[in-house]
């Protein structure tokens, strides 16, 4: 732990001193003429790929390096993180990761995970979307309170999902745990759109998605957004209350919502290989800070349906440290139980 915070502090110091003397920067010299791989853990065409292709030319301008987008799909993005985590520590492999499955995969000990997020240097966060719980119109419920009461009345609530720790399912799981609901999670759907169909059809009570998808799915009222699983309301759905506003969350249960919200805060984050020289990490962090706070880029991105919600590399690193830093062993096993087995 200490070494990590020391590293962070050191890199910050270096970063600060570099801004002062940007002219003679060894990291800047290093990147000139090199080739940076901007890696995404999905195939071409998806959201992550589009973000990467948007950022690549900007990163190239900012660093003087050639930036190539590389698609390395597999294992829900886990495979590519493994590869970046064990690549040459030269700072030439940068990856846009999906924070939720990465963090939860690590905590639940998913078989293929061979990285530790807290060891990876974070360069910044591109976007983070809050998660929203939706219920089916067919279910007859219209608010989170309805769900709590129905559960108290002995009803079982069901939620559809894909895998266990890639978003929809774990969101539903932490809500069920925090509010002590009677839940059954139906997983295995092929994509979030298929999971949404199951809810529209009324096969399940509801399901959870990012605020953006929630807005799309709820346009015609066949699905009703009932709560944001976190502390802040969504900008896209300003009328939807947070879970804390919707019901009384018992104090000891708030841990679950906080935990899930922190994982969401990691978001679509940029990482590089552990052991990369501090000056290069600082240089890349600064480059992304400049790129992602450029109003023009933010506008282009938003127009393409790619919202930008920048957070600095240090902030994301702090979030990751918070998630993994003070988790005692027994808490981890409780989390595993809730996410992997309790509600299935």
């Amino acid at each position: 732990m200490k070494t990590i915070s020391a590293l962070i502090a050191a890199s910050l110091l270096v970063g600060a001193s570099l801004t002062a003397s940007a002219q003679e920067n060894p990291a800047a010299d290093f990147y000139k003429g090199e080739t940076i791989s901007l890696i995404v853990g999905t195939g071409p065409g998806g959201g992550f790929d589009q973000y990467a292709r948007l950022l690549a030319p900007e990163l190239s301008d900012a660093t003087g390096a050639t930036v190539v987008v590389e698609n390395r799909p597999g294992g829900g993005g886990i495979t590519a993180i493994n590869q970046v985590a064990s690549a040459d520590a030269d700072g030439l492999s940068v990856m846009l990761i999906n924070g939720v499955p990465a963090a939860l995969g690590q905590i639940t000990g998913a078989p293929a995970v061979r990285f530790k997020l807290q060891d990876l240097p974070f360069l910044g966060r591109v976007a983070a979307e809050p998660w929203v719980l939706l219920v089916s119109k067919q279910s007859g419920y219209t608010s989170l309170k309805d769900l709590v009461e129905a559960s108290k009345g002995g009803k079982t609530l069901s939620f559809s999902g894909l895998g266990r720790v890639d978003g929809p399912t774990d969101t539903a799981a932490v809500v069920c745990e925090a509010l002590q609901l009677n839940c059954k999670l139906v997983v295995g759907f092929k994509g979030s759109s298929e999971a949404s169909l199951a809810a529209i059809r009324g096969d399940v009570t509801g399901f959870a998605v990012t605020d953006r998808s929630a807005r799309d799915y709820s346009q015609d009222g066949s699905l009703v957004p009932i709560a944001v699983v976190g502390h802040n309301r969504s900008k896209l759905l300003p009328d939807v209350p947070t879970i804390f506003e919707a019901v009384d969350v018992p104090e000891d249960a708030a841990f679950w919502i906080d935990f899930r919200a922190k994982v969401v805060d990691v978001g679509r984050a940029l990482i590089t290989t552990p052991g990369t020289p501090d000056d290069r990490v600082a240089f890349l962090r600064e480059a992304f800070a400049k790129i992602l706070s450029d109003p023009e880029l933010v506008k282009t991105a938003t127009d393409r349906g790619l919202p930008i919600d920048y957070a600095s590399g240090k902030d994301v690193q702090d979030t990751v440290t918070e998630i993994f830093g003070d988790l005692p062993e027994d808490k981890i096993s409780t989390i595993r139980d809730v996410l992997l087995s309790k509600y299935f």
Binding site: T79, A112, V187, G188, K190, S196, L197, Q219
Partner: protein
């Protein structure tokens, strides 16, 4: 509706849209012709180009490139015995014996004509269903998807020729290897040997290329020549093939309908459509034993269905924002790029765009076939290229095609691994088409059975559509036997 249709028509005739179609059509056909490059890759490559385009033109551009891939792929499947895209794999089964009999022109003519009709049929189905789409899709839940996939498996014995035991053995093996990788419900990766590549299981493109392309290349490298058309002029053969399709309207429509239905239902997987159409054609045929030995019906059925399925796949994409195939998932992304929001309200707000896409789909399918007919005199010459020049060229296309889907060397290596499997299949009479069909359907059967049991319990089989599907399945299993017994009695 009529207003929207007129507005859609005028939209389609805009110069920008015509340009988009004209430029995407050859790209789609080329990606079809080249083995390993599929509609998915075509779309992924073209997406960056739509950024500057006007909304409708952009969609027309992508849809065109995607919809005509299997038209181009049928020619490669027949002339070279290598499916141009996975959807053409079933065409190889009878296409190659036809070629070996000197009838490649007839087979290509029939395939292209069937593709065009199938594509138009798919577009028409889309048009007719537009107003009632929601209930249709909602009626097909996990339980119905499971039974449909299971029904597909009952066709395993009917794809291709040869010994049924060997066919089913290959099919069962295909099903088994489809279970490598993450199990859908528990999320446990199975049989992955701590090897990251296997987490998501074996991939379809290396499997299809390995099974079909490598054995063909080995045969060519062993000194076998490609048979050239004999007898009639190729032009006459093409016309004969065309006529053969029009003589079998019932078959074409039935196969197209199978394609449409499979396309509409998101879970089943469009790759299965041509196999199911092939098997259905065989089971309803008076002489099923001639299938696999070079019968024109064996080319018509899969080619009609694989073009029809594209229309079907557009349905859930437009109405729910739920992509019916992986290509449609990319199209969905393009909608967002163009500032359009597919989903429940899309057709209410943009009916003209929906109808415009239907029109495009119908038109480009016909155009694609016409263009391929026109190109045939040139393309047909590929078979007269000596193997010593053809093999390295095709090998390059196959290897880079496998590599390009994910940029992963493993896919190239596994193309060779499955190539060995394919060689063994050819040598010892195991059915490659059955292996591929089992591979595609296995995961769907497992996934949707588990989900159905989770949601409804075992009682799901008593849902009305499920009962109908079960009845159909039983009929399909026993009808051929009863049919042949009846015929024998009569004879």
């Amino acid at each position: 509706m009529l207003d929207a249709l007129i507005s859609a028509g005028s939209q389609t005739l805009q110069p920008a849209v015509l340009w988009a179609v004209a430029s995407a059509l050859p790209v789609g056909l080329l990606f079809g012709l080249l083995p390993g490059l599929s509609g998915l890759t075509a779309m992924a490559v073209l997406i960056p180009f739509v950024y500057g385009m006007d909304g409708f033109a952009g969609l027309a551009f992508l849809l065109t490139a995607h919809a005509v891939v299997s038209t181009g792929g049928s020619v490669t499947a027949i002339l070279l015995g290598i499916p141009g895209s996975p959807a053409n794999a079933a065409t190889v089964v009878d296409g190659v014996p036809l070629r070996n009999a000197g009838q490649s022109g007839t087979a290509v003519g029939a395939a292209l004509t069937a593709s065009a009709i199938g594509g138009v049929f798919g577009a028409l189905v889309l048009l007719v269903l537009l107003p009632v789409l929601r209930p249709v899709i909602l009626a097909f839940g996990p339980a119905e998807t499971f039974l449909l996939s299971l029904m597909g498996l009952t066709f395993l014995a009917a794809v291709g020729a040869g010994s049924p035991a060997r066919g089913l053995f290959a099919g069962a093996f295909g099903i088994f290897i489809s279970f490598v990788g993450y199990e859908p419900v528990s999320g446990v990766p199975r049989y992955w040997l701590d090897y990251d590549y296997l987490l998501d299981g074996f991939r379809l493109i290396p499997l299809a290329l390995g099974l079909f392309a490598i054995p063909e290349l080995v045969a060519l490298a062993s000194g076998r020549m490609l048979e050239q058309s004999k007898g009639e002029l190729p032009g006459t053969q093409l016309l004969n093939g065309m006529r053969a399709v029009f003589d079998r309207v019932g078959l074409v429509l039935r196969s197209s309908a199978i394609g449409s239905i499979i396309g509409i239902i998101p879970g089943v997987g469009g790759e299965t459509a041509p196999f199911v159409a092939y098997a259905a054609a065989r089971q309803s045929s008076p002489d099923p034993e001639r299938f696999g030995t070079g019968i024109i019906e064996g080319v018509i059925a899969p080619e009609a269905s694989n073009n029809a399925k594209e229309g079907g796949a557009l349905v859930p994409t437009l109405v729910f924002g739920v992509p019916g195939s992986s290509g449609m998932a990319l199209l969905l992304g393009a909608f967002l790029v163009l500032g359009l929001q597919p989903g429940p309200n899309f057709l209410r707000d943009h009916l003209d765009i929906g109808l415009g896409l239907v029109l495009i789909l119908a038109v480009v399918n016909v155009l694609a076939a016409v263009l391929m007919f026109a190109l045939m005199p040139i393309l047909a010459r590929v078979v007269s290229v000596p193997p010593r020049l053809l093999v390295p060229f095709l090998l390059m296309l196959a290897l880079l095609g496998a590599y390009s889907t994910q940029g992963d060397m493993h896919d190239v290596v596994f193309t060779f691994v499955f190539g060995a499997v394919g060689l063994a299949c050819v040598r010892y009479g195991f059915n490659r088409a059955a292996l591929l069909l089992g591979f595609v359907l296995g995961p769907a059967v497992e996934r949707y059975l588990e989900i159905s049991l989770n949601i409804y319990g075992p009682g799901f089989v008593f849902r009305p559509i499920c009962l109908v599907l079960i009845a159909l399945m039983i009929a399909a299993l026993f009808a051929p036997k009863i049919g042949s017994r009846l015929r024998r009695k009569r004879a």
